[in-house]
Each structure stands twice: as structure tokens, then as C-alpha cells.
Assembly symmetry: C2
Homo-oligomer: 214 residues x 2
């Protein structure tokens, strides 16, 4: 793996996790020291992240971590719903045994991690991401999957602080929600699966809104 790729993954990770604060300036000298590499791979990574809206740059004034705002969150979430709705529908139609088995596995792994008291929050997050990816993975559209990944990262920046702060948020049972969604998907019940997905999003949106107001 090239340094440029490492820079991309490291920066992306640090931004999504909030280690690099929204609005904060990303000075080349600092980054060079932090990640122990020259300017070239860093610039390359930053300009890629700009395309994913995780950083912004003003000409000749360098890069900054992009700001968080409720409006931006709502936009990303509803766009994600548009994409996921269609991708889910396609997955239910096209998914074979491998897809079903992977979905069962992802659901189970998510449950295990969620029920492990004192478990790592980042590990849980990885499982959550994997679940949603598994759900859509059979849609057969690389564009939709790519967009899903981008939007997932964009919305995750808002959800992670909530996760780190309090528990699940608003008395939700994350495991039950996802298990129900998986069951509907495995039963190929498009209508139910879609309704559960929408509810899942509504609940997430409500949690973030509440947090943002507080």
C-alpha cells in the first residue's frame, strides 16, 4: 500500500472519529509530523477527501475539516435513504444464499458485540457498518454501493459522538431493530423491510436532532 493510500485511510478515520475536529485547520506541517510523511501523499489524500465532503479547501488557504450542521446531516441522511431504499429492494430480489448467509453472520456479530458489556464502541461501530453493507451488498450496483459508503461516513460523523457520549440513545434497542430488518430481508418482504429501514432512519434522525438541540 502506498503512503498516499495510508494517508487517505488515516485522515478519513481521524475525521470520522472526530480526532480531527470539525472546522479545524489541517496544516501541512502538522499533518506531515502527525503521520510521518511528506506533503505529496497528504495533499493527494486531502483532495480525495474533499470529493467526499469530509474536508473543504479554499484556494491557497489550505484544507479544513468540514463543519457539522444539522441541515447537512438531514441532507445526507435523506439522500442515504433514497439510495438505500433502492439498493435494498434490489438486494432482496437478487440476493442468493451467500448474501443471506453473510447477512445472518453480520447480524449475529452485531448482536454479540452489542451485548458485550463494556465492549469497544469502535468495534460496535464497525459491526453496525458491516451489517448495513451486508444488507445492500447484493444490489448489483457499484454506484449505489459507493454512494452508500460515502453517505454512511458522512452521517457517521454525527452518530459517533452520540455513541461515545451516552448509550444507544433514547431507549432504542439497536439489536432488535437490526434483527427485525434482517428477518424481513431474509423473508424477501420488500414492503416490511422498507418500512423498517425508514423507521430506522427516523429514529436515528430523532436522536441526532435531540442531541443537536441539547
Amino acid at each position: 500500500m502506498t503512503l498516499a493510500e495510508k494517508a487517505y485511510l488515516s485522515l478519513r478515520n481521524d475525521i470520522v472519529r472526530g480526532d480531527l475536529k470539525p472546522g479545524g485547520a489541517l496544516k501541512m506541517a502538522d499533518l506531515s509530523a502527525r503521520y510521518d510523511m511528506g506533503f505529496s501523499p497528504l495533499r493527494e489524500a486531502l483532495s480525495r477527501l474533499q470529493g467526499e465532503r469530509l474536508v473543504i479547501s479554499e484556494s491557497l488557504r489550505g484544507f479544513r475539516v468540514s463543519e457539522l450542521s444539522l441541515a447537512e446531516f438531514e441532507d445526507a441522511l435523506r439522500t442515504r435513504l433514497v439510495i438505500e431504499t433502492e439498493a435494498l429492494r434490489l438486494s432482496l430480489r437478487l440476493g442468493g444464499d451467500d448474501w443471506a448467509a453473510q447477512l445472518v453472520a453480520a447480524t449475529y456479530a452485531l448482536k454479540l458485540q452489542a451485548e458485550r458489556s463494556g465492549g469497544d464502541i469502535w468495534e460496535l461501530e464497525t459491526r453496525h457498518h458491516a451489517f448495513h453493507r451486508a444488507l445492500l451488498s447484493a444490489c448489483g450496483s457499484r454506484w449505489m454501493l459507493d454512494f452508500f459508503e460515502q453517505l454512511y461516513m458522512a452521517t457517521d460523523r454525527y452518530r459517533l459522538p452520540v455513541l461515545v457520549g451516552g448509550a444507544g440513545g433514547g431507549g432504542r434497542d439497536l439489536v432488535a431493530e437490526h434483527a427485525a430488518l434482517a428477518d424481513a430481508a431474509l423473508a424477501r418482504d420488500e414492503t416490511l423491510a422498507n418500512r423498517l429501514l425508514v423507521q430506522h432512519y427516523e429514529a436515528t434522525a430523532a436522536t441526532i436532532r435531540a442531541r443537536h438541540g441539547a
Copy 2:
């Protein structure tokens, strides 16, 4: 504007127009000579274009213009339809007088250019792009607009050779199609506008499919 931005725009333009051939290797030395700049801004631009799927890179083997394939085209087009369907619906609900006026202007400019015999094909293409952008511009979602732009470029790579080769393709009346779509949009007829959009896509897909088979 920085050199990196110029490199991005130039490369993107040259790839979409087909001046840089699909599958062709993009050697740094060649690009450096062609665009008269060093490696840094070029690499930055290429890695951005990789995110938009216009180029691909293998580690330590440089960049290539991404290949064209019918499957890839169909995927991009149907994803575009998912995004545009929703963005169109939102635009019809949210669009004010400015949006309506801009749409009328874009429709008229498209018509003028299309009817100018012997007109520049690239100018026509710019107007076509502007029309579709105007149609969706009031949707209020930056994510959807961004995705639309990406997908438009991805699909345009397939449509442009057809435009350059023969005329409109398959006896279609492009002007009438777009005018009808604009009328439905201005009348806020969501159902009709959506149907026309779907038809527009079907026709485009049919043209490309025929061309690809031939």
C-alpha cells in the same frame, strides 16, 4: 485558480470527451508535457478523478482512463434515475420563480443551439447538461446534486461518441422531449414529469445499447 484545479478540470474534460481513450495509460511524463505542469498537481487531480470513477489506479502501476462497458453504463444510468427521480420531485415542490425562470431560459437556449444547423456539438452538450441541472437545481439537496453531476459525467462518456458520430440518434426529437419535460415541471405535475424523465432515460439507454451492439 491553482494548477491542481486546472489539471482536474482539463483531465476530466479530456476524459469525458474521449480525447484520452478509455483503457489508455496516463503516464506522468506525458501528462506533464501535455498540460505543462509538474507531477504534484497531476497526481492530485488524478486521485480526485479516481473517486469519480473516471480513472483507475493500480498501486505502483500508475493511472489509466477507466474502461467503458455496457454494464457500467446501465448501472450509472439507473442510479442516476434513482437520484434524479427524487431530486425532480423535490424541485417541483420547492422551486420558486427563480428556478422556473432559469428552467425556461435553459430550455430556450437548448432549443436555439439544437436548431442551429452545423452548430458546435460541444456547445449543444453544455446546454443539455445545463438543462438537466436547472431542472433539479431547486431540490435543496447538495448531496443529490453532487451525485447527479458525477453520474452525468459518467453517462456522458457513453453518449458523446453517439452525438459526435451520427445525429440525435434513432429519430428522437431532443428538443421536443426536453420541452415537454420542462412544461410538466413548470406545471408542477409530478406524475407526468416523472414519467417523461423515465421515458427520456429509456430512450437514451436504447440508443446507447444499439450503438454498443453495432
